[in-house]
Structure formats: C-alpha cells, structure tokens
C-alpha cells in the first residue's frame, strides 16, 4: 500500500468515525421510536409500531410546552429583530473610540453562560418590578423572552450588520434629495434592502429560542416550555414517546431544509435571467444604431 492509499484510507476511516459519533446516537434514538418496548430500546428490535407517536400526540404536557415554546419564539423574534436592527445601525454610527466598548457590551450576552443570563434576568426584574410596581411583568413568559432576547438580539445584530455594510449610502441621499423624510427613507429604502438579512435573523432567532434550555429553565419560573418538559421527562425515565418527538423534529427540519434549498435555487435562476437581460440591453445600445 502506497502512502497515498494510506492517507485516503485513513481519511475515510476518520470521516466515518466522526460522523458515526455525530449521527450514531440520533440514529439509535430514531430506531427506538418505532420499537415496541415501553422504555427506549434499539436492540433487539422487537416489532415495528407507530404506537409511541400516538402517545406523543396525546401528551398534554408536551403539547402545552410545544405551543408555549412557539409563542415565546414568536415574541422573541418580535423583540430581537428590532433590537438587533437598532444595534446594527447604531454600531455603524458610533465613532471608533466608543465602538469597541459598545461592541463588547452588546456581544457579551453571547459569551455569557445561559444560566447566568437566566439568573441575572430573574433577579433584576423581580427587584425592578417591585421597585416600580409593574408586577405583571414578573411572569415566566416575559422573563424568558427578555432573557433569551438579550443574546439572540446580538445574533440578529451580527447578521444584519453584515448586510448593512454593503449598503450604498448614496441611496439614502438620493431618496432624501427627492424629498423623502428620514422615516420614509428608513421604510422605503433601508428596510427593503435589509429584508433578506432580517428574514435570516428572524428564522435564526426563532430556532435559537425554540431550542434554548439553560436560560429558559431558570427564567420560566413556574411555567413550561417544550425543552423544560423534555428535560423533566428525560430525567424521570420515559417512554419512547420522546424518541418519537425527536423523529418528528428531525423530519420537520429536513423538509424545511429541502424547501429552503428549492427556494434558493429558484431565486438564483431569476437573478440570472435579469442579468442576461441587462447584458442584452447593453449590447444593443453599443452596436451601431
């Protein structure tokens, strides 16, 4: 065996081990969802069944946690995207000396362990609401949204900032020159340009919120989300209904990914046609008329 063969072989071997490590547990769990024993078991595989999916669909706690997670996810998007947008815009306007301090402050939640964010959020808002009498704000859902948004807004900000840096300031000036007010420029020119980034940020925000555990489990107080229900179930020892849930989640994400790829391909094709039109127009203009 030559050296090249050794390298190729070990590369494939390494990749195999890597992805076995990564996918193995999930595959095993997927199998247990369809297996009959009432505790998650992959091997031996006794009989194929959909039973656990039915159990899942009747699980009140899981369903409640699911809807609550969705509700919180939507609220987090509604809070984080505007905050991230403002953060990105201000980042561009802040002069350089203050910029690093500003950056440090707004990115710090990303680096802070989720547990600490949860704790600090709860402590602060408990004291703040008693101080200012806004007791209604001291509620699990509100606290989770606030806690999660503190770092999810930073993700949004970074995504929007990347697109913002490619923005042609001249467009703003042109709109102003044509008589638009600043608010009109914001809504007619800036936001449409940032739309793709804001959509990505929204999707990321929702997904990050939905699957968050550390911050959520502390800030949720007495309420429940899907992740906290799961954690509770898993610790108590559970039925393969949990595995069934995992299979459902996997399928949904795979379908979503495929949809995304299809949409992206279609968008690329449309752009190619536009460019072709422009080139044709250009050529017609330069040829002797």
């Amino acid at each position: 065996m030559t050296a090249k063969h050794v390298i190729t072989f070990s590369t494939w071997f390494y990749l195999g081990i890597f992805f076995l490590y990564l996918f193995g547990p999930l595959a095993v769990m997927g199998v247990t969802a369809f297996n009959t024993p009432s505790y998650p078991q992959a091997f031996p595989f006794e009989a194929f069944t959909w039973h656990w999916f039915a159990v899942l669909s009747e699980d009140k706690d899981v369903l409640y946690g699911f809807t609550n997670s969705i509700k919180i996810g939507v609220l987090v998007v509604c809070l984080s995207v505007p905050l991230g947008l403002a953060g990105a815009l201000v980042m561009q306007m802040v002069y350089s000396r203050a910029r690093s301090l500003y950056y440090l402050v707004v990115v710090s939640p990303v680096l802070t362990p989720g547990v600490i964010i949860g704790i600090s959020t709860v402590i602060f808002w408990r004291d703040f609401t008693t101080l200012t009498g806004m007791r209604f704000m001291y509620d699990g859902t509100v606290l989770v949204v606030l806690g999660q948004s503190s770092f999810i807004a930073a993700y949004c900000m970074l995504i929007i900032l990347a697109r913002l840096q490619r923005f042609d300031r001249g467009l703003q000036e042109a709109a102003l020159d044509l008589g638009a007010s600043h608010t009109q420029v914001f809504f007619h020119i800036l936001l449409p340009f940032l739309r793709p980034a804001m959509l990505s940020a929204a999707v990321l925000a929702f997904l990050s919120s939905f699957e968050n555990y550390n911050t959520t489990t502390i800030a949720i107080l007495a309420d429940k989300t899907l992740t906290t229900v799961l954690a509770g179930r898993v610790r108590q020892g559970s039925t393969p209904a949990i595995s069934a849930l995992a299979v459902v989640i996997i399928s949904v994400t795979v379908i979503a990914a495929i949809l995304y790829e299809v949409l992206r391909r279609r968008d690329d094709a449309r752009k190619a046609i536009q460019l072709r039109n422009a080139a044709t127009a250009e050529a017609m203009e330069l040829s002797p008329a």
Binding site: S100, T112, I116, H182, T227
Partner: protein, 334 residues
C-alpha cells in the same frame, strides 16, 4: 451600607456611563444634534430607545443586580431592604467553607465540583479540538467545494435537534440495557452491564458531543483563509506533515482556534442539560449546583454568588486565552 442605597447606586451606574458617552462625544466635536439630524426624529427615538433598552435593561443592569445580590444575606421577602439587609461576604464564604460563618472546614463537595468542572471542561475542549481539527483541515484545504457543502449540511443536521434530546439519545445508548452495553456484552468484553451513567462517562461523552460543531466552524473558517500555496511551498521544502500543521496552519488559524476553544469551554463549563440528563445522583458538575442553590435551596443570594463565580471563571479563561494567543478581542470574535 444597606442594600436599599446600594440598589439606587447600581441603577445610577448606567446613567453615569451614558453621561460619559455624551461628554466624550462632545469632546470629539460630534454632537447629539448631528445624530438627530442625520436620522430624523422618529428613527432617532427608535434607535436610542431600542439600544438603551437592550444594553441597559437587558444586559448591564441584570448583571449588576445579580452581582449586588450575591453580597447580600438570604432574607425572607418582608425583611429585604430593611435594616438586616447589609452587604456581606457570607455567600462566598459558604462556597469555600460550607458555612456562612466558620472557616473550619472546606466545602469539599462544591469545591471539588468546581475543580472537576474546570479541569474537565479544559480536557474536553482539548479533546474536541484534536478530534475536529483534521475534519476542519480536510474541509478547508482538501475537499472539493461540492463535498464541503455536503459535509457542512451533515455537520449541522444533528444540531437542529435540541440539546436535551441529544443528551437523551446518548442516554439511550449508555443505559444499562442500551446499545453500547449490549454490544460490549455481545463481543464478550464485559459480562455485566456497566453503569456508564453512574460513572459519569456518559456525561463526559455527552458534554463533548454537545458542542463539537461549534469548534469545527471557526476552525474551518480560519484554516480556509490560509493560502494553499503556503502549505505546498512548505511541503516542497521538505517539511514533514506535523511540522506543517504545527507551525504553518495552526498559527494562521489562531483566531479561529482561540474563539472556538473559548466558546466550547464556556458552554461546557456552563452546561446544564447534559449533566442533568446524563449524570448520576452523585454527579459533580458546577452548573447544576448553581441551579440547585436557586431553585432547590431557594437561596437566591447564594445562587447569585455561585453564578458570579462561574462568570468570573469564564472571563478569566477568555483573558487567559487572549493573553496566551496574543490576540485582541476584536480579532478573535471575527
């Protein structure tokens, strides 16, 4: 000083910081007026309001309040803010000595948990690095673009699943009657099921598994930016492969390595899901202990103190990494 005054002091802090910003802006000859003019009234209000809400009420003040609370005694709600609510180090004493007053004996359990958490996190980070580096290098320099796309997709896919479920998946595998035990028994390596969960092996594997991806990405990005020709030139000159990696690729990838390792360390030491799901009854991991102080012992000041200790550890780690790798924060977070 009573806590009541302390509270107002803490609230006043951001106002002071803002004042600092305004004053230094004046000094640099920019003014609030030009900001207002550049953006129009409505947009300016939105920008300042949103950033103010976010930076002050969601980031700075909660941290300050948490730190402040860690220096207060545990009191029933009626007595908070009253005369008995004074600043004290008793929560930190508890962490070290197991009691708020005496310093006779060390708080062995918590201190051990803390030490294990730190050491294990470092080791897990190093292991993850060693495990991920070849893949990152392969994707960045060797594989074709199409294959990289496929690999990226395959890498991200498992992480669409919630970390709790992933920990659960590992639990299924490591359980007494799980796949691993059955396989080992089947191969004749062991006769009785081995308690992976109780021995914390499952937990360590789970912790490594949880954040593998987060190391691949920064590494991949960092290595990708290296000009392939440098490697080829070195190989041409006869450098052995380990030399190339140690002295050419890794120094170039330093920011990526630093940021990836920092992220993994902080997430691992602050992990809650994997220890809870995969740990046994006697598992020692620091973050579940923090959680316990809060919601089992209902001792919020103590929970705050423990949380603050964790935060300081993370900050210390980041600073150490920055110093060791001679990078600045901005370079690293790219």
């Amino acid at each position: 000083m009573t806590a009541a005054t302390g509270h107002w002091l803490v609230l006043a802090l951001p106002v002071l910081v803002l004042a600092f910003f305004v004053i230094s802006a004046r000094l640099e000859k920019r003014s609030i007026a030009s900001f207002w003019r550049r953006n129009g009234t409505a947009v300016s209000i939105y920008l300042l309001g949103a950033v103010g809400l976010w930076a002050i009420f969601m980031i700075v003040l909660p941290q300050l309040f948490m730190v402040e609370m860690s220096f207060r005694p545990k009191l029933p709600p009626t007595q908070m803010g009253g005369p008995r609510d004074i600043y004290t180090l008793q929560n930190y004493k508890y962490f070290l000595f197991g009691s708020t007053s005496s310093t006779d004996s060390w708080n062995v359990i918590h201190l051990r948990a803390f030490a294990i958490t730190i050491v294990a996190s470092v080791l897990i980070t190093l292991f993850n690095f060693a495990f991920c580096y070849p893949l990152a290098f392969y994707m960045a320099q060797v594989a074709t673009a199409a294959r990289v796309r496929v690999l990226l997709l395959m890498l991200i896919a498992p992480y669409w699943i919630n970390e709790v479920l992933r920990a659960f998946a590992l639990r299924v595998i490591f359980a007494g009657s799980g796949v691993l035990n059955r396989a080992l028994q089947g191969m004749g390596l062991i006769t009785e099921p081995f308690d992976f969960l109780g021995a914390d092996v499952a937990m360590y594997v789970g912790l490594s598994y949880a954040y593998l991806l987060l190391l691949v990405f920064p590494l991949y990005n960092a290595v990708e930016s290296l000009d392939k020709r440098q490697i080829e030139a070195a190989r041409d000159l006869g450098a052995p492969w380990w030399h190339i990696h140690l002295f050419i690729v890794m120094p170039h990838a330093k920011p990526g390595i630093a940021s990836g390792c920092t992220l993994v360390f902080m997430l691992t030491s602050g992990a809650l899901a994997a220890p809870l799901v995969l740990g046994g009854p006697r598992t020692l991991w620091f973050t579940p202990i923090v959680y316990d102080r809060f919601y089992q012992a209902f001792n919020w000041p103590q929970g705050a103190a423990y949380a603050f200790i964790l935060l300081l550890t993370c900050v210390a780690f980041v600073l150490a990494v920055l110093r060791l790798s001679r990078l600045s924060l901005g370079e690293m977070t790219k």
